[in-house]
Amino acid sequence: MYWRNLINATDPWQEMTRLQRDMNRLFDDFGTSTRRTFPAVNIWSNDEAVMITAELPGLDSNDIHLSVLDQNVVIEGNRRQAELKEGERYHRQERGIGEFKRTIQLPFPVNTENVNARVSNGILIVTLHRAEQDKPRKIEIKAS
């Protein structure tokens, strides 16, 4: 997945599992158009933090539930269908509806106290910071 350039780039087993997972996802999607990965995410990162963005049009902050556990971020929610009154009908219905849940695995454990999430014009932006104990530490070398 996305952090393969970041950490453990040399671990062949991790690369294998990643490939397998990607293949499974491909086959899961095949033929069942209703089971799409939603929401689509973009992930921005640096050494200290990760920023996840997702397009969730029509949802406000109360409709989206976010949880963080170890290295996983879970985004879930429900896209409700407009309730039709008597005499109303759909001519076209293209917008997705229903419950969704997506788990994203991060390249490092995060500080769960320092997670920043906001929704702006239908875009969810979650910023997560790397856990302090996981950060690389510079070790002084003393000359004797």
């Binding site: 996305y2 952090w3 996802r25 990162s45 397009e55 049009p57 109303e88 001519h91």
Partner: protein
């Protein structure tokens, strides 16, 4: 695989009225719901990432055109390390019938969702006709 998902999630516009664009970047067709009620036609379009000022709704010769121009926000000090969706402008056009009262169209943009309310003209509203029995 990321490209595969992209094509599933967002539909790119195939043809923009055969005119050429003066802006670079991709253009997407927003997913749209159209609901007819007794008094109006309601149009809901998914157009995340815009502001009210960057949305252009135009009506000309019964053609309703929706356009949205994005100013993509690129986070500073971050690198894009994984991508499933692209950001781009939005474009979609609909042909309306004469039954819409074109002077009373309302538009609203909230949470990345554009809502257009197209009121039906008086003559097009269905009327209940009472039948008298002697």
């Amino acid at each position: 695989m990321a490209t595969n998902e992209k094509t599933i999630q967002k539909k790119e516009t195939e043809n923009i009225q055969k005119t050429e664009r003066t802006r670079s970047g991709r253009v997407f067709t927003p997913a749209t719901d159209i609901i007819e009620t007794n008094n109006d036609i309601v149009l809901l379009a998914d157009m995340p990432g815009l502001t009210k000022e960057n949305i252009d709704v135009k009506l000309e010769n019964n053609q309703l055109t929706i356009q949205g121009y994005v100013n993509p926000e690129i986070p500073k000090e971050y690198l894009l390390s994984y991508s499933e969706y692209d950001v781009g402008d939005y474009y979609r056009a609909f042909t309306l019938s004469d039954t819409i009262d074109q002077g009373k169209i309302e538009a609203e943009y909230k949470n990345g969702l554009l809502l257009l309310r197209l009121p039906k003209a008086e003559k097009a509203k269905s009327r209940q006709i009472a039948v008298n029995v002697d």
